[in-house]
Symmetry: C2
Subunit: 202 residues, 2 copies
């Protein structure tokens, strides 16, 4: 899609690059490109710098494999966190989602994916070995398996549960049930079934 | 919205900058930020460079006020274009829209807005003076007014028509009517009314 066919190169290159981003189609790319052209140079420079900085400054934490800007991520470095609990998630973004709840004060471990035979991803392709190493010194008392409640997430959780339990570490799984604010009538049967099974005394 | 509250600075800055773009909410910003974190460094660098290049290389053409990467824009520099016709548009992006049709081979003049008393934009705030200067040497025989078919666009077209006609230059306006592929049943009354008034013999 040539936006200004007669005025190619720089603009077209920006459109191509923007179009590669998730959720950005040709129309959105065009809108953003024009916005950047019309905005002052300082704003465009700040965006470009922010992109470069993120790639330069953010790397994987060598302990939990979440994103880190220092040697280790802020959670691993924070000595006030509960070091007896590790929450196992699939992706670094899941750490952000759980942190936002404010309900969790332990450590994390990012697997970097889930077990998926279809995609040839087994435990060896994930940070499972490193998780077991972290459990070795006996400081960790509980592992919370927070992979997604889908087939692959459940498979991964079942696998991890089976190898962690023998180490004498308590293993738990995030509760499945009705979303808060959700409507019973519109819940799918599996979710409603889980909510009934996992009902809690009040 | 803190995405990874514990891992602030670089990521948060990128989220803030992305969130400023048109059509990008916090969720989209987050998705793009994670995409950039996961993509290779080369791709992120290309995007950042494309943003900087556009701001550095693209400026306004001193003749028609469209975007240009050279001294003048490619349309003004192209000696094969019909120099007897000028198409007057509101914004540089409109040049792109008309160029894409392939139906126009004349020159352009970008006003840089439309007359809007509410926003205190009168002819003096637009590139009207420069348009009249381009008409002075008598080379231009027709001016096509291609402002939007809305109140402000019509006002601007009426104003320009009134000052250009006395110069002995033919003035025309883009046709209003049914969109091609549109459905008569769903056309609004004003558009349908225009289409009837502007009916053409076949």
């Amino acid at each position: 899609m040539a936006l200004i066919a007669h005025d190619g190169t720089a603009l077209q290159r920006l459109l191509d690059e923007l179009g590669r981003l998730p959720g950005i189609g040709p129309k959105s790319a065009q809108r953003i490109a024009y916005y950047l052209l019309e905005s002052d140079a300082e704003e465009a420079r700040r965006l470009a710098t922010a992109i470069l900085d993120v790639k330069q400054q953010v790397h994987f934490c060598p302990i939990c494999f979440s994103y880190a800007t220092r040697d280790t991520c802020d959670v691993c470095a924070d000595m006030s966190r509960d070091r007896s609990t590790i929450c196992v998630v699939s992706e670094p973004r899941d750490v952000g989602a759980i942190e936002k709840t404010g309900s969790y004060h332990g450590l994390y471990h990012v697997l970097g994916g889930v077990i998926s035979p279809m995609d040839k991803i087994g435990p060896d392709q994930l940070h499972v070995k490193e998780l077991l190493q972290r459990l070795a010194d006996g400081e960790v008392k509980e592992v919370i398996l927070a992979t997604n409640p889908d087939v692959e997430g459940e498979t991964t959780a079942t696998y991890l549960s089976r190898i962690i339990k023998p180490l004498g570490v308590k293993v738990s799984r995030l509760a499945s049930g009705l979303p808060v604010g959700g409507d019973l009538e519109y819940a799918d049967e599996v979710t409603l079934g889980r909510a009934i099974e996992a009902r809690q005394q009040v």
